[in-house]
């Protein structure tokens, strides 16, 4: 298992390097003229050129990249060109918001999707149809619509929760809970729908296996068969889907963070990418890549633990 983790980590590191190079090069292709954007349309060309030179943008892209990399490995990700904030601090300020959302959604999804999926797969009939309809609806409803309805009903109309803003968990636990509950709920609808469907199919498939029939014939209680044997075998594909959902959440978080006015990584990505703020965007890209690799690694390890055959691949 250790060898597997080490192999995957080394591959991950290589991937980080390749993606950082590709991202930097791609970001530098559109001629955004950062100096002009910073100084405004009416600034003279001399000043704009001086500004670009001060930012090091007059050098070849490869040199700029190597310079960025040399600083990045030492933990210095630079300063935002557009707001003058320290990149590491800027991301550290916003990361807890997005992590709160992602952790919340993953927790809700894991619990709700496994309950619904197992329930539907074991009971079938009306329960199954209900879960199926819920899954289709949850998947089909546009995320922005769900979010807007949730915020309008529970925050603006009923005033049960704040409509905007974020309170740090260290500042006040109830404050934190009240600010992340609705966003997590909004993001969970689609996520639960997707994973529940996967769990249901896996459970049905495992229940058809010969060894389940054998277990039944030996007179094991059905609850024990489901919890110990079926669930363990049905979990692997569901975990893979859950991992993908987790990664996909970054995209969904953009919209939810915007509607709830949450200062997270998602809304930050949109704001700074449209401006071409390379120091911030590169840091966000690296964060995403490392996050995706880490999640995949965790999922693979978990699947390998659940199903030793998977480790061979």
């Amino acid at each position: 298992m250790l060898g597997f983790v080490l192999r995957r980590s080394a591959a991950g590191l290589l991937l980080v390097l390749v993606i950082s190079f590709l991202s930097y090069t791609l970001l530098s292709i559109p001629d955004l003229d950062v100096g002009r954007q910073l100084l405004g349309q009416s600034a003279s060309q001399d000043l704009v050129d001086a500004k670009n030179a001060a930012l090091g943008l007059d050098r070849p892209v490869l040199v700029q990249y190597l310079d960025w990399l040399a600083h990045a490995v030492r933990g210095d990700l630079g300063t935002s060109w557009f707001t003058s904030e320290d990149v590491v601090r800027a991301i550290a300020n916003r990361l807890p918001v997005t992590i709160s959302l992602m952790a919340g959604v993953t927790l809700v999804t894991t619990v709700a999707a496994f309950l619904l999926g197992v329930w539907a797969g074991v009971r079938r009939g009306a329960v199954d149809r209900f879960v199926q309809v819920f899954s289709v609806l949850g998947y089909a409803l546009p995320n922005f619509l769900v979010t807007l309805v949730i915020v309008l009903v529970f925050a603006v109309r009923l005033r049960w929760f704040p409509a905007i803003g974020y309170v740090g968990i260290g500042e006040s636990f109830t404050g934190w809970l009240s600010t992340v509950l609705l966003p997590v709920l909004s993001l969970s609808v689609g996520s639960v729908a997707g994973v529940a469907q996967q769990v249901r199919s896996s459970v049905i498939e495992v229940l058809r296996q010969d060894y389940v029939r054998t277990l039944r014939a030996r007179g094991l209680p059905p609850s024990r068969i489901v919890l110990k044997h079926v669930l363990r075998n049905a979990s692997a594909p569901a975990l893979a889907v859950l991992g993908m959902q987790f990664v996909g959440l970054l995209g969904g978080a953009v919209l939810v963070e915007q509607i709830f006015g949450l200062p997270g990584i998602g809304s930050m990505t949109v704001t700074y990418t449209t401006r071409g703020d390379i120091p911030i965007i590169m840091a966000l890209v690296m964060l995403t890549v490392v996050g995706v690799i880490a999640v995949n690694l965790v999922v693979d390890v978990l699947i390998g633990w659940l199903n030793p055959k998977a480790r061979l691949g």
Binding site: P30, D31, L32, D33, R36, Q37, L38, L39, G40, Q41, S42, A43, S44, L47, A50, K51, S80, F82, T83, S84, E85, A90, N93, R94, L148, V151, L152, A155, V156, R159, W160, F161, P162, A163, I164, G165, V167, S172, T174, G175, L177, S178, T179, Q258, I259, F260, G261, P263, S267, M268, V270, T271, T274, R275, G276
Partner: protein, 508 residues
């Protein structure tokens, strides 16, 4: 079931109690008061050389300006108590307060003014050009300073009440980046670094030893949002105290809430700038009849009704109602008359029409506006082709490459005539081809050498010429809505879309 519902209510009530304190802008019981303002402007830094119009409130909190601009656009003393021009209007003498200190105790004096202005000019920020006409700054004594101008500039007092007048502590100039995140001025508040998250929320707390009269709030928090939906929800729930809403649909949404208080202001106008009047990119535009035809071809009242839900006023002139140049009758100079437009195009020899390629930044040109212009101009034979641009590369293509002969823009209407002239008539960003004509050349020196009141006739003549010669194709002035959760009274600021921080007070 009933018990669990009650428990849920109790839990939610405690949650609400835990989070509702932030929006409390009231004054009861002498408790510290906070004003929560929402903004969609992200300041580049808090260094005055990076200041610009819509970001000004961030700066006003920590810096004073030399001259204060009142809500109605008149000037009153701030760091300068008096000012006067010589007869030639090329020497502007300022008398300064002698009792003002920066946060660290350094006295504010004439040397500080000189140091700030010289740095501002060299700093190369967006507004540095406003001091282009200043050739030198003479320090007479600690409380007297004279700005020497190369030529008269009727907008100089306006600039000193704006970014160019912001005074920072010269001690912070030694290290160039200090002021970006740690501003130091003489203003009514100080940045609270502990509570501020740059890029998200800036918190300013009252400066203990402020020389001037206290503003009503102990703390001012300015939060950045990238969309108006969140702002409107924050106002409706009282989490935000004040904001500016530009989008017509959001305005309607926020007005539906009985507790929300609103104040209207017409500030930006939307229209097409026909930059290429010399016909360098689109030769057809060289003929004033073609520009007039374009103006007659569009249905302004319908555009206003459909695109802005009727929120605004149609206009054919670029000067706003607060200026001396403004003539009410010019608002309706170009009627919707496509037959006349076709006749004018025929007269100009372009009856078969031509193609007009326009840049399109979706944030400014909505689908409805793009379709409306395409249909109206298409009906008289002018084929509009939209080039979709992202805001990043748009600046480059439009202003540096000069790739387009015209562009749809939203532009603020300054109350200072010469500021407006500088923006749209003089060669520069919004007259990028540097076009001029004999009438303009004759009128500008006369306007420049006198005050707006004395130059009213010439300013109006200039305005009339710009309209009749078709320099621009304005559609309408847009009504913006200042909204509050009911706890704040907001006075709109003349010459600025966002109110100055001095313009907020607890509602009675």
């Amino acid at each position: 079931m009933k018990r669990s519902a009650t428990a849920a209510l109790l839990v939610t009530a405690s949650l609400i109690a835990g989070c509702s304190g932030s929006g409390d802008g009231g004054t009861a019981g002498g408790a510290p008061t906070t004003l929560n303002i929402a903004t969609m402007t992200l300041p580049q830094s808090l260094d005055p050389k990076d200041a610009n119009g819509s970001a000004l409130p961030f700066f006003q909190a920590v810096y004073d300006t030399l001259i204060k601009r009142e809500p109605d656009g008149t000037y009153s003393p701030m760091l300068a108590t008096a000012w006067s021009y010589d007869d030639k209007l090329t020497r502007l003498s300022l008398t300064l307060r002698g009792d003002v200190k920066f946060d660290d105790g350094t006295p504010f004096d004439a040397e500080a003014v000189k140091a700030n202005m010289e740095r501002f000019r060299k700093g190369g920020g967006a507004q540095a050009k406003t001091l282009n006409d200043v050739t030198s700054i003479e320090v007479v004594d600690p409380t007297h300073v004279t700005l020497v101008l190369g030529k008269p500039n009727p907008a100089m007092l306006y600039y000193l009440s704006d970014a160019a007048g912001l005074m920072a502590n010269p001690k912070d100039f030694a290290q160039d980046d200090t002021l970006k995140t740690r501003p130091g001025g003489t203003g009514p508040y100080e940045l609270d670094a502990g509570q501020t998250v740059i890029g998200t929320k800036w918190v300013f707390t009252r400066a203990a030893n402020y020389w001037g009269s206290r503003l009503p709030y102990d703390t001012i928090a300015i939060s950045y949002f990238d969309n108006e939906t969140a702002i409107v929800n924050g106002i409706k729930t009282g989490q935000l105290d004040a904001a500016l809403i530009q989008d017509a649909d959001q305005q309607i949404s926020v007005e539906s809430d009985p507790e929300v208080k609103t104040v209207k202001q017409e500030f930006d106008f939307q229209g097409m700038f026909l930059f290429d009047r010399a016909g360098m990119v689109t030769p057809e535009l060289r003929d004033p009849r073609v520009r007039q035809a374009l103006n007659h071809a569009i249905d302004r009242p319908t555009m206003l009704a459909k695109i802005r839900q009727g929120r605004g006023a149609v206009t054919s002139q670029v000067f706003g109602p607060a200026t001396a140049a403004y003539k009410p009758e010019l608002d309706t100079y170009y009627t919707f008359d496509q037959a006349k437009a076709r006749a004018l195009l025929k007269e100009a020899g372009h009856e078969s029409g031509f193609t007009l390629k326009l840049p399109r930044i979706p944030a400014i040109v909505s689908d409805a506006l793009a379709a409306s212009l395409q249909t109206d101009l298409g009906a008289v034979g002018v084929k509009v082709v939209w080039d979709d641009l992202d805001p990043g590369s748009a600046v480059q293509r439009i202003f540096k490459d000069r790739a387009y002969s015209a562009m749809v823009m939203n532009m603020g209407q300054s109350s200072a005539d010469w500021v407006a002239v500088g923006e749209v008539v003089l060669p520069g960003a919004f007259n990028m081809f540097g076009y001029t004509d004999d009438t303009v050349k004759k009128l500008l020196p006369k306007i420049q050498g006198s005050s707006a009141q004395d130059a009213t006739a010439d300013l109006q003549a200039l305005n009339e010429h710009l309209v009749t010669d078709g320099w621009f194709m304005p559609f309408y002035r847009m009504t913006y809505l200042h909204v509050s959760d009911g706890s704040v009274t907001i006075k709109p600021q003349d010459g600025m879309a966002v109110p100055a921080i001095y313009n907020y007070a607890p509602a009675q």
